[in-house]
């Protein structure tokens, strides 16, 4: 039995402790905003926050989440839109959009500690998140917008 808090709600998990968080979120809790892309932490589509830090939920087993606070795209902002989401909309970032929950969660964690990111810092923070549609230049623009608070 593993107790964790997901988007502020206490949850109890009774399944295989080896199951990655991703599948618990998607298949059991029906929180499908977090996406499956590669299964081995190479693409970032499954990015969520664990105690405020960005993690790849496809490789974090439930056994390691006892007492953890998990935030998914559904819980990023309780009211309205998070500034990163607002920036994403203003910059018209998404194309197919499948990777974007992961991109947004990665960017939101990054911007907590980084108020004025350079291109190099953005590249470093975001290079674990693949966008096959190729929206990177708008992601960069949106991150700067969100950082500047100009949304």
């Amino acid at each position: 039995m593993i107790q964790s808090k997901i988007n502020g709600v206490q949850q109890t998990f009774n399944g295989d402790p080896e199951m990655p968080l991703l599948w618990y979120l998607r298949d059991e809790l029906k929180l499908t905003g977090t996406k499956f892309g590669c299964g081995i932490a190479l693409c970032g589509a499954c990015t969520v926050h664990k105690n405020g830090e960005a993690i790849r939920s496809c490789v974090v087993a439930m056994r390691d989440l006892s007492g953890a606070e998990i935030t998914t795209i559904e819980g990023l902002e309780s009211k309205g839109l998070h500034p990163v989401q607002q920036a994403w909309m203003r910059a018209n970032v998404p194309q197919c959009g499948y990777c974007q929950p992961g991109q947004i969660m990665q960017a939101a964690a990054f911007l907590k500690n980084q108020k004025k990111p350079t291109d190099e810092q953005i590249d470093e923070a975001m290079s674990g998140n693949i966008c096959r549609c190729g929206t990177y230049q708008r992601i960069r623009a949106a991150i700067k917008m969100a950082a500047e608070g100009s949304v």
Binding site: M19, I40, L81, W88, C96, I122
Partner: protein, 758 residues
């Protein structure tokens, strides 16, 4: 030809709009889209009328527009309805978009080949204009005034002399009783009356896409559903010889395993066969699958080795082959000798790797299959499911979810058929989920291609003769096991239409047998053809000591319309009258991009170079200049890309620019790292580890897109950005390093000053 008919009482629209509302269907006779290489089962062959899209107006004023094309990131689900809304003079904020199920009455639904706008632009305008016409008639009737004295503003009809106004919602019931206007009665807006066309709108789904609410195939679910993961035969055409599922069944959550029959050649869109593990959740299905022990009979493709195959293709490319276009007399010029240039180019198999792997949910019960799938082609899904299950096509209901990328892969519904077959076998809803490894190993790859180029240069350095020969396993091989030559629909892609003004010119194609499934991938044959043609042009420019831009413009020559008499050139399914091949437009984008990018004027840093390429595909003219910086270790950065685009009339400019930005990133992946190889018939790559795609730090830092202001008929925008990018990128590498890229991907060429590992 387009007709409009009133379909208010058609049962298949039930539930879509409230009773008594006005519903219009636009009926469309599409041209045969040979560019897509589909079997002859095209919309033109099918029956009589093909309603393609519907607009409905509720009494509360809600305008319902049906999107019949699949949304995979091009915002087509927004841009086509926007055309309807404009001609209807609807307030976009009051428009609701419904996604169509697969149904031939909509016309062609295969969202492939960059033709959604051009094929349905007129139809959408007429669909909107017809509704507006009827609303005006209804208002005039109610006021007892002349319709000619009435006009519209968004969502209201206005009687101009008196200033009276009636909302669309209040007119819907009355309008529904009126006859549908004939096409000749319609008055389409003039360009300066457009509110949306040419100005555009963000994606209808934008907020959902940024909040995790958007629903993809991966997110579909039904009560009582189980999950399946399938161990496919590692070699195409292989079969299960024997298997042991005892360990798999011990995995918690695993319910059973089911064998799926191998396909009967040709593969087309049939399931590959194999062993499915059925489980209570995705993770258990994956885990159970790892415990399967399967002995395979690999079949004849076991001998396939991509390194050996490459040699064979290259040898074939050096031999005389089938002539697909010939002008003048190439042989006699070559026989005279003089300065002859020749080069071999090579592009390997490429995988799509859309971010969402293949996935589909199917529920078979009472002789009917209901599908939820991220498919580019719901009618093809209906077709294969009906064949696999032995039920009528009408009994396959295919709902189209959002697609987490498609790039052509999701036009092939093999994964949809798998879900349907399994649901029938176990009698409950089944969701088939492919892993990334499945996606990489069991793709319909973009063809591997070898090109041989040869030119004789005159005293002025310009070619007096030009020969180009390509060899690639054709896409038609998935429908015809004996197919070895390129079909006209793929040879046209940057090959038979080489636009250079050279008196003696010959285009050839040699045979190649496929050992994997070959399929469409964003830009398709244009990728390798443009790479060869535009790289060779650059090679000739340097050989002649000329500026590559000036030389390229000389090759394109004076503005003219290319004559395809006696050439099998399908023109992407469009008529050559409406969409002629105009070299002047290619010149214009080339000159435009050169000016915008500061060609010949821009100061570049150490290790930097600019490359240029110009290419028309999917009826759109594109020229691209890429700047690369190559360091001593041979690592490449792309500080800037400039792209000029003449796509005719552009409905949604911001979305269009985004497509070309994305194409530069897609092209980066193709050029730098894209490579699928096979050993003993088995694909060597598996995931983003060994099939890497461009990440943010490798992608172009800035892509500037310039759209030519044009009133020519609309053309494609999803695909045409990739081919010129790839060639311009390689030409830039030459400018930066003096190293000529003749084989992709560039990761296989040491571009550094030092030996690798030094």
């Amino acid at each position: 030809m387009t007709l409009i008919e009133n379909v208010s009482r058609r049962s298949f629209l039930k539930g879509m709009v409230s009773t008594g509302a006005l519903v219009l269907g636009a009926c469309y006779y599409p041209e045969i889209l040979r560019a897509d290489g589909l079997p002859t089962d095209t919309p033109a062959d099918r029956a009589t009328l093909h309603p393609n899209m519907f607009v409905g107006i509720d009494t509360d004023g809600t305008v319902q527009i049906v999107a019949h094309r699949s949304e995979m990131g091009t915002a087509i689900r927004t841009s086509l309805p926007l055309v309807v809304a404009d001609e209807l003079d609807a307030d976009w904020k009051r428009v609701k978009i419904d996604q169509a199920i697969g149904d031939p009455r909509y016309g062609d639904q295969n969202t492939d080949g960059s033709h959604s706008i051009r094929s349905f632009y007129d139809v959408m305008r007429q669909a909107g204009a017809s509704a507006r016409f009827m609303l005006i008639q209804a208002a005039a009737q109610q006021w007892n005034v002349r319709p000619a004295d009435c006009a519209t503003e968004p969502h209201v009809v206005i009687h101009r002399p008196s200033g009276r106004r009636l909302a669309y919602g209040d007119l819907a019931a009355r309008a529904a009783k009126l006859p549908v206007p004939k096409k000749e009665q319609l008055q389409l807006k003039s360009n300066n009356q457009w509110r949306y066309i040419g100005k555009g709108m963000p994606s209808y789904d934008l907020a959902d896409l940024c909040t995790g609410k958007a629903l993809y195939g991966m997110d579909a679910r039904m009560d009582n559903m189980v999950y399946a993961s399938i161990e496919h035969p590692p070699v195409l055409g292989g079969k299960v010889q024997s298997y042991d599922n005892s360990e798999a069944l011990k995995v918690a959550g695993v319910r059973q395993t089911i064998a799926i029959d191998p396909f009967k050649p040709p593969p087309a869109f049939q399931p590959l066969g194999g062993i499915a593990v059925i489980a209570d959740n995705t993770w258990s299905a994956f885990q159970g699958r790892k415990k399967l022990k399967v002995v395979w009979d690999n079949g004849p493709n076991e001998t396939y080795d991509s390194a050996q195959y490459k040699k064979e293709l290259q040898e074939t490319a050096r031999k005389p082959a089938k002539v697909v276009r010939s002008e003048g007399d190439v042989d006699s010029v070559f026989a005279k000798g003089g300065k002859i240039m020749e080069a071999d180019y090579y592009v390997p198999l490429l995988a799509h790797t859309s971010m969402e792997p293949m996935v589909a949910l199917a529920d078979f019960r009472d002789g009917r299959a209901t599908i939820w799938a991220p498919t580019q082609n719901p009618q093809a899904a209906q077709d294969i499911v009906s064949k696999e299950l032995g039920i009528a096509k009408e009994n396959v209901i295919c709902h189209v979810t959002l697609l987490g990328g498609g790039f052509g892969r999701k036009s092939k519904p093999d994964y949809v058929a798998e879900a349907a077959v399994l649901s029938k076998k176990i009698g409950r809803p089944v969701k088939v989920v492919w892993t990334r490894e499945d996606d990489v190993k069991f793709d319909y790859y973009n063809a591997v291609a070898a090109m041989y180029m040869r030119a004789a240069l005159g005293a002025d350095g310009k070619p007096t003769a030009w020969l180009q020969r390509s060899v690639f396993p054709p896409i038609t091989s998935i429908f015809d096991v004996d197919a070895v030559y390129g079909d006209p629909g793929h040879l046209q892609q940057g090959w038979t239409d080489v636009p250079f003004d050279i008196a003696n010119l010959r285009v050839e194609n040699g045979p190649a047998k496929a050992h994997v499934r070959i399929g469409w991938l964003r830009s398709v044959a244009n990728i390798y053809h443009a790479f060869a043609v535009q790289s060779f042009a650059d090679e000739l420019a340097h050989a002649a000591g000329r500026d590559p831009l000036d030389y390229l413009l000389d090759l394109i020559g004076k503005p003219r319309t290319i004559n395809f008499k006696d050439v099998d050139y399908p023109n992407y399914g469009a008529s050559l009258q409406t969409y002629p091949w105009e070299t002047g437009r290619l010149r214009r984008v080339t000159e435009m991009v050169a000016e915008k990018a500061g060609w010949g004027k821009r100061k570049l840093g150490k290790g930097a170079g600019l490359g240029i390429a110009a290419h028309k595909s999917f009826l759109t003219y594109v020229a691209t200049i890429v700047e690369v910086e190559v360091n001593d270790q041979g690592e490449i950065k792309i500080p800037r890309v400039d792209t000029a685009v003449d796509a005719g009339l552009v409905v949604n400019p911001e979305i269009t620019r985004a497509q070309f930005e994305g194409a530069a990133v897609f092209g980066t992946s193709v050029a730098k790292t894209g490579e699928i190889t096979a050993t003993k018939g088995t694909i060597n790559q598996s995931n983003f580890s060994d099939y890497p795609v461009a990440r943010i730090d490798e992608a172009p830092l800035q892509t500037n897109v310039y759209l030519v202001d044009s009133s020519a008929p609309p053309a494609g925008v999803g695909e045409p950005g990739v081919p010129p990018f790839v060639a311009a990128f390689c030409n830039a590498i030459y400018a930066a390093t003096g190293k000529r890229i003749r084989e992709l991907p560039t990761k296989n060429t040491n571009l550094g000053n030092k030996n690798k590992g030094e």
